[in-house]
C-alpha cells in the first residue's frame, strides 16, 4: 500500500498483506489485553452485586484502576522457582496457554468486510476458508499449556490437578466440536465470515433460533473448556491447593490468569459468531442494508461487542449461581449426556439440510 502510493513497482500485494495483518494483530492484541483487565474488574463487581455487596470500589472511581493495581502487584511479586522443576517445560506451560488463547481469536470477524486502498479487506485478522477447522485444532492445543505446566511443576498435586483439568477439557471438546459441525452443516461453509453472512438473512436467521440445542451444548462446552463457572474444579482453592498453577507466582501466574480470561473472551466471540449472528444488526435489511452503509463497520463492531459482552455477563452470572460440579459428575455429564445430545443434534441438522 505504501509502496503503491510511492509509485514503486514490486510485491505491493505482499507488503500490503503484511501491513494489514500487523495492524489488525496489534489492535486485536491491545483490545484483548484491555478486555482481560477490565473483565476481571467486571467479574468482581458483578459477582459482588449478585452477592449483596460492592465489588472493588476503592482504587479509583468505581474501582476502575483496580486492574492496574492488580497488574502492578503481580509484576512486583517475587518469582519463586522451586528447585526441582523441569525448567523448560515449566516456563513453556503458561506461555503456550496464553499464545493459544490469542491464536484462537485470529479468525473471528468482528465486522462486515470493506474495500480500502485497492483490496477487499475483512475484519478478521486472517481470512481463513477453513476457519472452523483451524479453530478446533487451536482449541485442542490449549490442553498442552495446562498439562505441560502441571507436569513441569514437579508437584504431584499440581500434576493431578492438571490431569483432571486436561481430561475435562478433552471430554467437553467433543460436544463443542460436534455442535460447531452442526452450525457448519447449516451454514454450508467452514469460513467464519461465511457463517456470519449465513445469518444475515431477513427475517432473523440467527443460528441460536435454528439450533437452540446446539447453542446450549456449545455454551456448556465453552464453560468447561475454559475451566470456568460450575466446571472449575481443577483450579478451585478448596481442591488441590490451586491445581495446576500452584507453583506459579507473580508474572507467570498472571500469564495463566490472562490465558483463562482471554479464553473466555474468545469463546464468547465464538458463540457470538456461530449462534448470535456475529456483527449482524437485528434490524438488518429493514432500515438499511448494513454492508452498504458508510459507518457499517462501526455498527458491526458495536453489535459484535454488545453480544460478546452479553455472553460474558452470562459467564459471570452462571458463576455466581451454580455450585461446583464434582469431577465424576462432570465426566459423566460430558460423555453420557452432552456427547449423545450433540450427535443427535448433528443427525437432525444433517437430515434437515439434506432433505430441504
Amino acid at each position: 500500500m505504501t509502496l503503491l502510493v510511492l509509485g514503486i513497482p514490486g510485491p505491493n500485494d505482499a507488503v500490503d498483506l503484511v501491513i494489514e495483518s500487523v495492524v489488525k494483530s496489534v489492535i486485536a492484541l491491545a483490545f484483548l489485553m484491555g478486555a482481560f483487565g477490565y473483565l476481571t474488574l467486571a467479574e468482581r463487581k458483578i459477582l459482588g452485586r449478585m452477592q449483596s455487596r460492592y465489588g472493588p470500589n476503592r482504587v479509583g472511581p468505581f474501582g476502575l484502576l483496580q486492574p492496574l493495581a492488580d497488574g502492578l502487584k503481580l509484576l512486583l511479586k517475587e518469582q519463586v522457582t522451586p528447585r526441582e522443576v523441569k525448567t523448560v517445560v515449566y516456563l513453556l506451560g503458561p506461555a503456550i496457554s496464553l499464545f493459544v488463547a490469542f491464536m484462537a481469536f485470529a479468525i473471528i470477524p468482528v465486522g462486515p468486510s470493506f474495500y480500502l486502498w485497492g483490496h477487499q479487506r475483512t475484519m478478521a485478522i486472517a481470512n481463513v476458508n477453513v476457519g472452523m477447522l483451524y479453530l478446533l485444532a487451536v482449541l485442542s492445543l490449549g490442553v498442552y499449556g495446562i498439562v505441560l505446566g502441571a507436569w513441569g511443576s514437579s508437584n504431584r498435586y499440581s500434576l493431578l490437578g492438571g490431569l483432571r483439568s486436561s481430561a475435562q477439557m478433552i471430554s467437553y471438546e467433543l460436544a463443542l466440536g460436534l455442535s460447531l459441525v452442526s452450525v457448519v452443516v447449516l451454514a454450508g461453509t467452514l469460513s467464519p465470515i461465511g457463517i456470519v453472512l449465513a445469518q444475515n438473512h431477513h427475517p432473523l436467521t440467527w443460528f441460536v433460533l435454528l439450533q437452540p440445542v446446539g447453542f446450549l451444548l456449545f455454551a456448556v462446552g465453552g464453560f468447561a473448556e475454559t475451566n470456568r463457572a460450575p466446571f472449575d474444579l481443577a483450579e478451585a482453592e478448596q481442591e488441590l491447593v490451586a491445581g495446576y498453577h500452584t507453583e506459579y507466582a507473580g508474572m507467570r501466574f498472571a500469564l495463566y490468569f490472562a490465558a483463562e480470561y482471554i479464553n473466555m473472551v474468545t469463546v464468547s466471540a465464538l458463540v457470538t459468531t456461530l449462534f448470535l449472528g456475529g456483527w449482524v444488526f437485528v434490524g438488518n435489511g429493514i432500515f438499511f442494508n448494513i454492508t452498504q452503509a458508510p459507518w457499517a463497520q462501526l455498527i458491526g463492531v458495536f453489535w459484535f461487542l454488545a453480544k460478546c459482552a452479553m455472553f460474558l455477563f452470562l459467564y459471570i452470572w452462571v458463576r455466581a449461581t451454580l455450585p461446583r460440579i464434582r469431577y465424576d459428575q462432570l465426566m459423566w455429564f460430558g460423555w453420557k449426556v452432552l456427547l449423545p445430545a450433540s450427535v443427535l443434534n448433528l443427525l437432525v441438522t444433517a437430515l434437515y439440510v439434506s432433505l430441504s
Binding site: I46, G48, R49, M50, Q51, S52, R53, Y54, L216, W317, V318, A320, T321, L322
Partner: protein
Amino acid sequence: MAILEFARGLGVTFKNMLRPPVTIQYPRERRTLPERTRGRHMLHRYENNLERCIGCYLCAGACPADCIYIEAEENTPENRVSAGERYARVYEIDMLRCIFCGFCEEACPTGAITLEPILDISDYHRRPLIYTKDMLLEPPRDLESLPA
C-alpha cells in the same frame, strides 16, 4: 426439566443484583451501636472535675486478661487529683490483651472506668496500643458553662 431449575436460580441471582448491597462502608458509614456496647475504655470524672479513680486496684484485680497496670499515689493538699485518699498516677491498659469483658467496669466502686461504644481501636504498631492514662481520661468539663 433441570433447565427450568437453572433458570430459576439465575433469576434469583439476577434479582439480587438489582437490590442495594448490604455493606456498611466503614469508615465513611458507621453502624449505630447499642448503648451498652463494650468498646474502648474511658476514665471518668465527677461534676467538679475531680477524677473518680482512687487507685484501689480493684479493676486490675478483676481483669481476667491481666492487662491493667496501675501505680497509685497519695493525694496532697497542693495536688488534689481525685476525691479520695489516693489517685492513680500511672494507669495503663494494654488494648492488645484486653478481652473487652467489662469486669473492670463492674468491679469499680466509684464508676471511674467504663467501656464506651467506641470501636475505632487500631494502629499499625504494637506500642501505641498500650493506652496510657492521658489517652483514657475524659477531658475536664467547662465549669463556667454549667448551670448554677
